[in-house]
């Protein structure tokens, strides 16, 4: 893999010291030395290991569970069944309004299983292996039921119903319409119709699987949960009411987490089972998920269909509107859903100037693993859709793909740009970024390379994938799907203090999973306090007892660079003010005369009058006699709150997220027309996430997200057969790209500072979906010379490409053009 970086920086707004430099990561030393502390590294005396007994059936009634054979095995400490869970807990709170709001979801299956891999019981034993062996002995008598695995059949009259209490498989439906769609179509010169597009089911693969160590303190009635759940703020509001305790009874602790990508948000059912067993057995309980368990049951990305789509296009290629019916497959339980049914609307218009949009959104449950956030959550599906529209319109109407994009992109002069549904794209120059990626990949040589590939019998294709990474979401958007919810806005917390020997200590409310929060926070603090990053100690990990945190604390949804660093900046500004105040008290001068630089608080025009940080730290802590007033405490806490309003629920209108990073991907691939096998031969990605605090960290996230996208486009699919069996439950069948699968990758960056954030930064890391879009587009381009199949699926393994080569008319039949 070769990487080159071209930096194109525009109008930086902040003074750059450490920020803006690729400072080595503070986290790396302990990680490369094997000294990271992950939840599974934490052991306790006498603890037991938990293994879940999982359903082999996709849909079945549980007639009986007999745990006695497992309990007879020496070394088995105890078990837990769904019946016990139903007595000891209440169903989890549902985000959904009716009908999904009636769903009863517990830590273990109660009465019925609804997907292969669903936990039905748990066994705790002396060793992890013994627990797994004992779980095999638990006898569960099932009565299999009919299944529904195809979302398009889930609402049929004869479809089996997963949750009888919901009255059917529908969980949410709503019409999202802005502008004058009918008029846009009435005035269109061309209407492009696409009967069906499908975004496939996959998820991002963390190195570390889910798990927890749960300890129960009988004296206080409190649990300590050492876990890699990436959003404790969400977990606790799910778990505490279900467990009938206050949120203070659940202490979440984490240090290092081996990747999250959103799918570690919804481990709360398993955490409840761990807690119940820790209390029941009066011993610590540790659960470490197995890879097959993860694939079968932990949080797939949403599968989505776009049906009966129509695009209104003017003669000059301007796309004025679209209408579609989106059908979202949530899997068997809602968990974080149906927020997937709203988050796409942060990017309703994609990167384009569409002013007239109608989208009928329907979400159903099926006998498949539950869905949850997955890198690019809900927006990725929708942005793939808008990119497919751009390419299909260009191909079917004979426009140039690049020109169609440039003509229809939101233009830099329009920034900040209010979309038809009230979201505000904060900054960016999309056409310039496209030019940059075209330059990186050598677009002007594509036709020459196509001819050369053809001489070798290969079909060359070139594709573009433009994508937005909306970050720092306004939780008020949840009220658009359930008006009764009392969530809005967002927040994050940081504390910064100056200790007795001059150490600067920072705590964060976040739970990083590899995003380098310790490093970037230290860079921001060091710049404000005028000191070296090495004396800034950012506490690793998170402990909800000791770290200050807020209701939305966590690491998710592309927001740390805004909320996390916004909190860090706010707290550090407060501390800086305290330090200057103290120095002014010592020097008997106005506070404004003091500056912080080189590790001192000093009089700006007399550097001889300087107090080292150590002295400032010591005065309030250990040498405070004689001060006429209390010296400042050298301790600051700041809650960053983005400036949001509650969206208009009637119009489904409002600013749903604060920042919009942008990535444009481009790829060149070669297809073997005999077999459908294809290879990515060239790849480039341009990222604009506003001001970059640490460019190398940003680039690392761009690369990682690109790998995820390539996996989703080419290899990774959670495929179910008609009977509800998952056919790709482990790495034998579910191939995650490794180094040799990666193409030559060129990256570049543009910096368009956000006018709305404290540091000009934007959240980033989830823009990798651009790779899925680019590969779909490149395949369609390659196939133009072999029948002209239209790519209508996000996941295109070799056999699907072969089908498009052999039956191009089948794929073409989904598209129709009518001209005025």
């Amino acid at each position: 893999m070769t990487t080159t970086e071209t930096e194109t920086t525009t109008t930086p707004t902040i003074q750059k010291g450490f920020a803006g430099q690729s400072v080595p990561r503070k986290e790396d030393r302990r990680l490369v030395e094997g000294q990271g502390v992950f939840f599974d590294d934490v052991k306790r005396h006498g603890m037991g290991y938990l293994h879940f007994v999982r359903s082999p059936y996709p849909h079945a009634r549980i007639l009986s569970i007999d745990v006695a054979p497992a309990l007879e095995l020496p070394g088995v400490y105890g078990t837990l069944t769904g019946d016990e869970v139903a007595i000891l807990t209440d169903p989890f709170f549902q985000i959904a309004a009716e009908p999904g709001g009636s769903m009863k979801d517990y830590a273990l299956a109660v009465g019925k299983v609804r997907y292969v891999g669903e936990p039905v019981a748990a066994v705790v034993a002396e060793t992890r292996e013994l627990a797994r062996d004992a779980a095999e002995l638990v006898l569960v008598d099932y009565e299999p039921l009919d299944v529904v695995v195809d979302a398009r059949r889930a609402l049929d009259d004869d479809a089996p119903v997963l949750h009888e209490e919901c009255g059917g498989n529908l969980t949410y439906e709503g019409v999202w319409e802005w502008g004058d769609v009918d008029q846009a179509f009435a005035e269109a010169d061309h209407v492009v119709k696409i009967s069906e597009l499908h975004f496939d089911r996959f998820n991002s693969t963390p190195l570390e699987l889910d798990g927890a160590l749960a300890e129960y303190n009988r004296g206080t009635g409190q649990w300590t949960i050492t876990t890699n759940n990436q959003f404790p703020g969400f977990a606790v509001i799910m778990m505490a009411p279900a467990m009938r305790v206050g949120t203070d009874k659940l202490r979440f602790v984490t240090q290092d987490i081996g990747g999250g990508f959103g799918n570690k948000i919804t481990s709360h059912p398993q955490l409840v089972a761990c807690c119940l067993l820790a209390r029941k057995l009066n011993r610590p309980v540790q659960w470490t998920e197995w890879r097959t368990d993860f694939h079968q049951s932990m949080s797939h990305g949403n599968e989505r269909w776009f049906l009966d789509t129509e695009v209104a296009v003017k003669a000059d290629g301007t796309m004025t509107g679209f209408r579609t019916k989106a059908l979202d497959d949530a899997g068997a339980y809602l968990r974080y859903e149906p927020l997937g049914g709203v988050i796409w609307s942060q990017v309703a218009a994609g990167m384009y100037g569409w002013r007239n949009i109608r989208l009928e959104f329907t979400q159903v449950v099926t006998n498949k693993a539950p869905c949850s956030p997955n890198r690019g959550y809900s927006r990725m599906q929708h942005l793939w859709f808008t990119e497919r529209l751009a390419d299909i319109v260009a191909q079917e109407l004979g426009f140039d793909r690049v020109e169609v994009r440039k003509k229809n992109y939101v233009q830099p002069g329009q920034m900040p740009y209010e979309t038809p549904n009230g979201c505000v794209y904060d900054s960016g120059d999309y056409p310039a970024a496209l030019d940059l990626v075209l330059e990186l990949i050598g677009y002007d040589t594509v036709e020459e390379r196509r001819a050369e590939a053809a001489s070798r019998g290969k079909l060359l294709g070139f594709g573009i994938g433009s994508t937005l990474d909306s970050g720092t979401n306004n939780f008020g958007q949840s009220q658009l799907i359930n008006p009764d919810l009392q969530f809005s806005g967002n927040n994050e917390v940081a504390t910064v203090k100056l200790d007795i020997f001059g150490e600067i200590v920072v705590t964060l409310g976040t739970t990083p999973q590899g995003q380098s929060h310790e490093t970037t926070a230290a860079q921001v603090v060091a710049d404000i306090l005028g000191c070296d990053v090495d004396i800034v100690h950012v506490r690793a990990g998170h402990d909800s007892y000791w770290n200050s945190h807020a209701g939305f604390s966590g690491t998710y949804a592309s927001q740390f660079a805004v909320t996390g660093l916004g909190a860090v900046k706010g707290a550090t500004d407060m501390l800086a003010d305290q330090m200057k105040t103290l120095a002014s008290m010592v020097f008997q001068c106005p506070k404004e005369a003091i500056e912080l630089a080189d590790g001192f608080a000093r009089i700006a025009d007399n550097h001889e009058a300087a107090l080292p940080f150590m002295a400032l730290g010591a005065i309030p802590n250990a040498n405070n006699a004689g001060f006429p007033v209390d010296p400042p405490p050298m301790n600051a806490r700041f809650v960053y709150r983005p400036p949001f309003e509650v969206p208009d629920k009637e119009r489904k209108f409002g600013n749903l997220t604060l920042t919009y990073s942008m990535q444009i991907h481009a790829c060149v691939l070669e297809v073997d027309p005999e077999t459908g096998v294809y290879e990515l031969v060239d790849y480039a990605a341009v990222d604009d996430c506003g001001v970059r605090i640490n460019p190398k960290i940003v680039e690392g996230q761009v690369m990682g997200a690109t790998a995820h996208a390539i996996g989703a486009a080419m290899f990774e699919s959670f495929t179910y057969d008609d009977e509800g069996n998952l056919l790709t439950p482990n790495f034998y069948d579910y191939h995650v790209p490794h180094t040799l699968d990666m193409p030559p990758l060129r990256t570049s960056a543009v910096e368009s500072p956000s006018p709305f954030t404290p540091l000009g930064t934007k959240g980033m890391g989830e823009g990798g979906g651009g790779g899925i879009h680019a590969i779909s587009a490149a395949l369609q381009d390659a196939l133009r010379a072999a029948g002209g199949a239209i790519v209508t699926d996000s996941h295109n393994p070799y056999h699907r490409v072969f089908e498009m080569l052999t039956h191009p008319d089948e794929a073409r039949a989904k598209v129709e053009v009518s001209n005025r």
């Binding site: 059936y57 095999e136 057969d721």
Partner: protein
């Protein structure tokens, strides 16, 4: 997985009925039966080693007779459990025909779960088709033997 078919026998309906209602005779038609035990008129069990092409799958199967209308219709349920697989099958037989000819229409709804089930229908279907063919051929042999014993 739903399977169905029709099997023609050169034997009177009484003979065919006597075979498909005799657990010990039916046991001889099943592939890989290692032991067989009759609990009562409507319950019996077997330990089998099902040839799957990837090595044998050992399974304990419990049979329950669900319904019978002599010489006409019978249905039974089979629940199997083995390492890596659970099976649940409901099958029925409908007999028709006169004299020396009997036609047996059969249906089976087979659900296979667990890791073996994750091999998927496309993989399992040909294996099951092959096994069904073997069972029907063995059944024919049993029917002919019964017919010979009955002096037919």
């Amino acid at each position: 997985m739903k399977l169905e078919g029709t099997k023609e026998f050169e034997a009177p309906r009484e003979v065919v009925w006597s075979v498909i209602n005799d657990p010990s005779k039916m046991a001889k038609t099943m592939p890989g039966v290692e032991s067989f035990e009759i609990a009562d008129d409507t319950h019996w069990s077997a330990k089998v080693k099902v040839p799957l092409g990837l090595g044998g799958l050992k399974m304990s199967i419990a049979f329950t007779k669900l319904e019978e209308r002599p010489l006409e219709f019978a249905s039974l349920n089979a629940k199997g459990q083995g390492v890596g697989a659970l099976m649940n099958m409901t099958t029925s037989f409908t007999l028709s025909g006169e004299g020396e000819k009997t036609s047996m229409a059969w249906e089976a709804d087979v659900k296979i779960a667990g890791p073996v089930g994750s091999m998927g229908q496309r993989v399992l279907q040909p294996i099951i088709n092959q096994q069904v063919g073997n069972v029907l051929a063995a059944l024919d042999t049993e029917v002919q033997a019964e017919k010979a014993d009955a002096g037919g």
